[in-house]
């Protein structure tokens, strides 16, 4: 009783970055593809390194909103799982970056405003064939705390390209981007999170699949409808008790989103993001036939749209494995097996995904690689472990609630 009374409710109020008049001026225009990609790299952080660490990996991502492509630039730092996310424009020969920063280990956040002037490298980046060399780009600017005007100086200097080995390396966001409990501005397992997750550095997602009453696959993690994941609606008990019509009308996720169907989620991935990997974590014990049908449908849609996308059915336990083996075409259905290497062989899974507590298991990972399969590890959240698995392990992907931390460690490796 006393413990419950003393529990703190933490909250992150995301700052509103819309107040930079220079960035909003009519002459500020979107950046070209070449400028954006040339800007990507590992930067040394000078002013501000005491807050964010000494290096930052800067990378662009995109989503499609209302038929418009929206580009975001993210900077991943080595200290306190910090990152910044912004948008970029060019104005009078300079490049402006406007956004916010956040530390995942705390509720610290604030605005960040950056400029690359002509003499600091924007003339290179805005040129027709930008070639960037170490020291050729300097990003200057300011950051602030919460909604305060940014006045604390920060400087980035380009040092090298982003690491890309091994490639492709999957930075997989748990529950489509991170847990709701990590105080993100959108809810886990939501379409809104899928649209946002690349900003955190993810190249793929893991989503939790359950069946509503009536058999519609939906995204929901927990066994019951609860206040960790949803607003108070009066509906209690397993989501499987309710039809999708009932859930869609009465249940809202923590930040107000609807529980999406699996089809909603994959439609978003295929047509509105650049994500390249989806791990369907099957949280129920029944037939996987409907999930397999949807997997097949969206792999075909992705191929038709010219997208390079893998969608795998996750096999986390023996029940799911048996249901998967009962599928007539299981051998050709891309799957990911969390069980033993023998079960990987039995299920014809293309990916083996052991729990991180087993260690780097380099011998087993090498064995899997010899068979032409990949190996992912889950769920890595402690920065020291992430660093260690990237530096000493041979995995092809990491599932995490902190994709920005994995992105930092991979890109600066």
């Amino acid at each position: 009783m006393v413990a419950a009374g003393c529990k703190n409710e933490y909250k992150v109020v995301m700052p509103d970055a819309s107040g930079w008049n220079l960035f909003n001026s009519p002459g500020a225009l979107p950046l070209a593809f070449a400028s954006r990609t040339a800007m990507e790299g590992v930067y040394s952080v000078f002013n501000g390194s005491d807050i964010f660490g000494e290096l930052s990996a800067i990378k662009w991502s995109y989503t499609i909103k209302n038929a418009d492509t929206v580009f975001h630039v993210s900077g991943f730092f080595g200290k306190d799982i910090a990152y910044f996310i912004g948008t970029g424009k060019k104005l009078n020969g300079s490049i402006l970056i406007n956004g916010y920063w956040r530390k995942m280990v705390s509720t610290e956040t604030g605005l960040i405003r950056l400029i690359i002037s002509a003499e600091n490298g924007s003339s290179i980046l805005l040129g027709p064939n930008p070639i960037v060399t170490p020291g050729s780009i300097t990003i200057d600017g300011f950051f602030g705390n919460q909604q305060q005007e940014p006045v604390i100086p920060i400087t980035f200097k380009y040092t090298r390209k982003l690491n890309n080995s091994p490639s492709p390396f999957r930075i997989l966001a748990h529950r489509s981007g991170g847990r709701t409990s990590d105080l993100l501005s959108v809810s886990e397992n939501s379409v809104e999170m899928i649209l946002k997750t690349a900003e955190f550095g993810s190249t793929g997602i893991e989503i939790d699949v359950r069946l509503s009453k009536g058999g519609i696959p939906i995204l929901y993690h927990d066994n019951t409808i609860n206040l960790r994941t949803t607003q108070k609606s009066g509906l209690l008990g397993p989501v499987e008790n309710y039809t999708y019509e009932q859930l869609s009308t009465f249940v809202r996720l923590t930040h107000g989103e609807k529980i999406p169907t699996l089809k909603d989620a994959l439609e978003t991935v295929v047509y509105k993001t650049g994500l390249t990997f989806v791990w369907l974590d099957t949280k129920y014990a029944g037939s996987l036939a409907i999930v397999r049908a949807i997997q097949k449908e969206y792999l075909q849609k992705a191929a038709a749209a010219g997208r390079t996308l893998q969608i795998v059915i996750g096999l986390p336990g023996d029940e799911q494995l048996e249901q998967f083996l009962a599928l007539p075409d299981y051998a050709s259905a891309p799957s990911l097996c969390e069980l033993s290497l023998a079960d990987v062989e039995r299920s014809k899974a293309i990916i083996w995904a052991p729990r991180f507590t087993e260690g780097t298991q380099n011998d087993n990972v090498a064995l899997v690689h010899q068979q032409g399969k990949q190996a992912f590890v889950w769920t890595l959240d402690v920065p020291e472990f992430i660093t260690s698995f990237i530096n000493e392990g041979q995995f092809d992907g990491i599932l995490t609630n902190f994709p920005s931390c994995v992105a930092y460690n991979y890109y600066v490796h």
């Binding site: 108070k232 009066g234 008990g237 009932q246 809202r252 107000g256």
Partner: protein, 201 residues
């Protein structure tokens, strides 16, 4: 609450309990405490859905039944159950209508003591057995147990050697589902069984 119980304990020691004289047998009793009234749901109901109209009802009937072992000491111990309507709402979504109601049956271990003459405090800890009823495109009844607590103050007026009537204010809190409810009840307290304890020195 711990502070309140300690404070009450101290008050009770001074004002409420007079020890039996030496050589007088100490009486033990079993007390049935039963009553009903009205409750009001206090927690925010924050389910927000665009384009959906909702009409909340936060008050409803409440009832409590307790059986207490009442030794001739300060603290009494017993079990409590009852019923409480937490909240309900009607919903209009276009041309479709629905209703949700949530009620609870508490099952608690309860401690009680007199603070001053005629004024008792109760503190309970246990579980709320919640029932959710949905009527929208079909009916669904779901159940969930949520750990919780309750605190009540009751003012007793004796009407015979074994019977009293009481007015009680109670606060109920289900942790997991973050439900806070207050109730006001009228109660009948009946000492239905008594026996002698050990002799005092």
């Amino acid at each position: 609450m711990v502070v309140l119980i300690v404070a009450c304990n101290s008050l009770s020691a001074q004002d409420a309990v007079k020890p039996n004289p030496p050589g007088i047998a100490k009486k033990h009793s079993l007390v049935l405490d039963i009553g009903g009234g009205y409750s009001n749901y206090l927690s925010p109901l924050n389910f927000k859905a665009t384009g959906i109209e909702k009409d909340y009802v936060r008050s409803g009937p409440a009832a409590t039944i307790r059986i207490l072992w009442q030794p001739q000491y300060r603290l009494r111990l017993g079990l409590e159950t009852g019923f409480c309507n937490f909240y309900s709402y009607r919903l209009v979504n276009g041309n479709k209508k629905g209703k949700v109601s949530v009620s609870a049956i508490p099952v608690m271990v309860v401690w009680s003591m007199a603070i001053v003459k005629r004024l008792d405090i109760f503190a309970g800890f246990g579980t709320y057995m919640l029932t959710s009823k949905l009527d929208y495109e079909g009916k669904v009844i779901s159940k969930l147990n949520s750990l919780g607590t309750s605190v009540a103050l009751a003012y007793k007026i004796p009407i015979s050697k074994t019977t009293a009537i009481a007015a009680e204010a109670k606060w109920m809190n289900a942790f997991q589902t973050k439900d806070d409810v207050v109730s006001a009840e009228l109660r009948v307290v009946w000492k239905f069984f008594q026996w002698d304890g050990r002799k005092g020195k």
